[in-house]
Subunit: 375 residues, 2 copies
């Protein structure tokens, strides 16, 4: 068709969208929230006409009061905020709500939140750049160890080709308590961070495998035992390790061109996943040569019992034991006790203490610091 | 370590979770919502102590009033519901809210919702079975056609092996207005439906490619032009087609073992995606031999202008033109007009009219009916 005809056709096609438009016309007039201003300030808006008190609760910040206008819309402008991704909820009369105007969600099995992106310079590790991108693969399998149907995610780096002979190293990257297997990509931006580090030549091309971190999934169910049932915790730790070693790693090594060699495997995680990395990794140095623990929770004072075979001989096998925590994180004391014990056993480690609390703001930066040290 | 020692070690490790437990102890006591009962009834609960009126708005159903208890918790029990996945929100004093107690979300750029799964017999196409599972791959690329960074999803069937010589057919599967590229998997369960159909021998093993359906992404932004700006609509339709034909299909055919042949390519979609499938597919029979339109919106009465070259000669190329709509969908009239026109032009089609409205309940079933007819 010539251009004139095409234009007329499309104009007519457009006119015909009206019935579909009518379907969506039922929607209320759009409330814009969050609105990120060019200077980094952010306006949040929440429609709650009969609420008495509404606060914005933002990741890594104290709650901030919101003010109501004549239409019943509560508003607050904060910042300028440091460029990053922030989880948040609105707390109205004591109850937490997601932002219904915001499509960007922070998935979480117990406390889902909304998320806002304050964009920053392209040099920030989590900002998308026009560089070659890796691919995120989501696998599904039935776990005989845990007895459920579950998933794991695999990041393959740019240029990965299943048909080529090159074999890649693998980082097993574990989420925290209440996260799901999508957390390290959806919230942690692991794929973007790796794309950028690889493009800059700062990290080696590697696969990143992000499994579901529950050996006892009921601990992350609302109304489930949570932290109260020690038996459930025990199952959670042991069965996660078993599912990882017996199911996930073999599936990855069967389906991807990876080097099945301890010097080409790393394990790291945040919070619960940090403890799982220490427990699984330091007790399996025949499998992992790199261990990372970000803001670990669940560090035991009686480390002799948790790591019965760990001593200075581990230094021959451990290429890196990287332990990091934010100074505003109440878990830092447990981490410091671990460091003392490691020192007493002659086990070498790298300790990184940074500003920050128990938040993803810290963990994105840790991944960006840790990945370049691997392989 | 022997078993006794292991047990003691783990018990001590568990005790040490207390500091982490303390972190989460700040969370309010868990409200359970939704609660799916064994008989298919579902109880929804929503904490809104000062709201005057709260309703449950569920996909495919009229709003239902909720009742408040002495703690300010609004509750309603509905059903038994037919086994399926249902999107829902709570509407309190006129404003819609997600269910903050529910981790299962229905992603949507304009109107995100919560989602509840009422489980049913394993014979339902969207129920996970212990059969071989395909893999979902998420690709990222910079679109020169649209001028943004975007993603597309690719489902590969069980047994797909990039290293083998077999080449697979491809279904390009398009979402509706306000959905994002994850909709057909996160909401439509396309990967589960295909896993099941393939395991039963009802559908041929195929790839399913799910691109982002916006040629003009601003139409799906809050505060954007929506349906009001005909130029934006025109860009949306034309640039989506261009991005699909010039960018997505070449990327798929470069990265996967697929047959680059019109008889091995299908295009189908729902609502806006149905219209895009008709517009793109029926004007590019050199590229697609199968076209599916589920509950299409935007069907033009003056079809001569939209499909200027379409006539009975198309029957030689079109292996299937499958058009379906729910009888409670107000878009059905536009679909019936298209059928009359196709008949007048001698173009063969399959028309499927089913109970149902403009909802995912209908579209999951359409995919399960349509996929077995392909290739």
């Amino acid at each position: 068709m010539d251009t004139m005809k095409t234009r007329r056709a499309v104009r007519l096609l457009i006119a015909s969208w009206l019935p579909l438009a009518a379907l969506y016309a039922q929607a209320p007039p759009p409330l814009i929230s969050p609105e990120v201003h060019p200077d980094g300030k952010v306006t949040f808006r929440f429609n709650a006409p009969n609420a008495q008190k509404v606060e914005l609760r933002r990741e890594g910040a104290a709650p901030v009061a919101m003010a109501k206008d004549e239409r019943g819309i509560w508003t607050v402008t904060v910042g300028p905020l440091e460029p990053d991704f922030y989880g948040y909820t609105f707390v109205a009369d004591g109850a937490a709500y997601l932002d219904p105007a915001n499509w960007l969600m922070k998935p979480n099995l117990l406390n889902p939140q909304s998320m806002v992106h304050v964009p920053g310079p392209k040099t920030l590790p989590w900002e998308v750049n026009n560089v070659p991108h890796g691919v995120i693969h989501r696998h599904f399998y039935h776990s005989d160890v845990v007895g459920d149907d579950r998933d794991f995610y695999v990041y393959t780096p740019p240029g990965y080709d299943a048909r080529a002979s090159r074999r890649y190293p693998v980082l097993y990257l574990l989420h925290g308590y209440s996260d799901d297997a999508s957390a390290w990509t959806a919230v942690g931006r692991a794929h973007v961070i790796l794309d950028n580090l690889i493009a800059q030549g700062k990290a080696k091309p590697m696969l990143v495998v992000m499994p579901l971190g529950y050996g006892a999934p009921e601990i992350a169910r609302r109304g489930g035992p949570g932290f109260r049932d020690p038996q459930a915790w025990r199952r959670n730790i042991e069965r996660f390790r078993d599912a990882l070693l017996r199911e996930v790693i073999p599936l990855v090594e069967k389906n991807y061109r990876v080097a099945a060699d301890r010097t080409q495997r790393a394990i790291a995680g945040l919070s619960m996943g940090g403890t799982q990395s220490l427990y699984t990794g330091l007790n399996a140095l025949e499998t992992f040569a790199y261990v990372g623990a970000f803001s670990s929770g669940g560090l035991l004072p009686d480390f002799d019992k948790v790591f019965p075979t760990l001593d200075e001989k581990a230094n021959q096998k451990l290429r890196l034991l990287w332990i990091a925590c934010g100074t505003e994180d109440r878990l830092i004391e447990g981490n410091r006790k671990l460091l003392e014990w490691l020192k007493s056993k002659g086990v070498k480690y790298t300790w990184v203490e940074t500003p920050g609390a128990h938040t993803w703001l810290v963990w994105r930066r840790y991944l960006a610091q840790f990945a370049p040290l691997l392989f």
